[in-house]
């Protein structure tokens, strides 16, 4: 927007603030593209149109409070910037709520990490299912921290064997350790 257009918008905004309804259309025509371009640069396309429209409606709702000492474009962009900030906060809150809704063991730093953990857990369970029932029982005892119903040295030996077979099964299925 060049200086002449800015000055024209400022004059029309002053008239609108004074109650001159004939200045509404010129202000709308001049301001809408500016606000839309500003918001589009700040937000993803999925949100930008809604936020730009909200900002425009806020500008007109507060047109009577316009202070002629301030530059009209700067004043309107200030309102749009506030709307952008609010939209960003809202998006961040939505993301947090999504993470909170995940099962407690899966609450991690990001939703991507949570999905990766979930896939890993599914793969581990799948490999575990290929083991002998006695190996599964041994590994379950280790995971639960309960004391084994046999001699400690014997149990340690069984754990070693079960883990060895688990690694082998994992390598066979996925090709890596």
């Amino acid at each position: 927007m060049d200086n002449a257009a800015r000055a024209e918008l400022h004059r029309n905004m002053q008239r609108l603030a004074d109650g001159d309804r004939s200045a509404f259309s010129p202000v709308y025509k001049a301001l809408w593209p500016v606000l839309r371009a500003f918001v589009v640069r700040q937000l993803p396309p999925s949100d930008s149109e809604d936020v730009a429209q909200d900002a425009l409606l806020k500008v007109f709702a507060r047109a009577s409070d316009f202070d002629p000492e301030r530059e009209a474009v700067t004043w309107a962009l200030g309102i749009a910037a506030f709307e952008v900030r609010t939209a960003r906060k809202r998006a961040a809150r939505r993301k947090e709520e999504l993470v909170e809704q995940l099962p407690s063991g899966m609450q991690t730093a990001s939703p991507e990490k949570a999905i990766m953990d979930r896939n890993l857990e599914a793969a581990a369970l799948e490999v575990l299912g290929t083991l002998r029932p006695s190996d599964i029982e041994t590994l379950q005892l280790v995971a639960s921290g309960r004391s084994p119903p046999l001699a400690r040295a014997t149990f340690r030996k069984r754990v070693e064997r079960a883990l060895k077979r688990l690694r082998l099964a994992w390598r066979t299925k996925h090709g890596v350790d």
Partner: protein
């Protein structure tokens, strides 16, 4: 969901008008202290409340309309301060004799304060560069309603006196200014 271009234009207009209506409170809040001043000084509460409600409605309408109409609100209050406050300065039950009749002093102060208000409105209106007539009409209306709250002290007679005094002060000043300009 994003609005269509036409719907956005309509919503923007509605937002603007609602915003203007919300902003009228900057002008209309003064009605509350005006009514309080009137109510504290005498007992004609129904007349004061009626005048106060009309003043609130007129102020809101003019302030929402804006331009010369809106700019007239505060000068109207200012000019109306004379008939609002002066009659209540008269001591209680003080009377004077004019032409063989006994008049309550506060009744006599209503046309006097109306005259002062009329002169003030006339001077303020002649200073307007544009929209002089709407400004004059709006200021007169606000001044009259503000003054009516004060002159309700003397009943309908006081209000009538105030209006007469106001016109007496206003018309010569305004007409002289118009003639000088022409």
């Amino acid at each position: 969901m994003a609005l269509t271009e036409d719907a956005l234009l309509t919503r923007a207009r509605r937002s603007y008008e609602l915003g203007r209506l919300r902003a009228t409170i900057r002008d209309s809040w003064v009605v509350a202290p005006i009514v309080a001043v009137g109510a504290l000084r005498h007992s004609n509460l129904s007349l004061i409340l009626a005048a106060g409600m009309m003043l609130f409605a007129i102020t809101t309408l003019l302030s929402w309309r804006g331009q010369s109409w809106g700019r007239a609100v505060w000068p109207g209050y200012l000019a109306g301060a004379a008939p609002l406050l002066i009659p209540s300065l008269a001591p209680a039950k003080s009377v004077c004799w004019i032409g063989g009749s006994c008049w309550s002093l506060c009744v006599l102060l209503c046309p006097v304060s109306g005259l002062i208000a009329g002169l003030a409105v006339g001077v303020l209106a002649t200073k307007q560069r544009e929209g002089r007539l709407p400004f004059l009409a709006a200021t007169t209306l606000i001044t009259g309603m503000t003054g009516a709250v004060g002159c309700a002290l003397a009943g309908f007679l006081g209000i009538t006196g105030m209006i007469a005094g106001g016109l007496l002060g206003l018309l010569p000043v305004y007409l002289m200014a118009q003639v000088r300009r022409a």
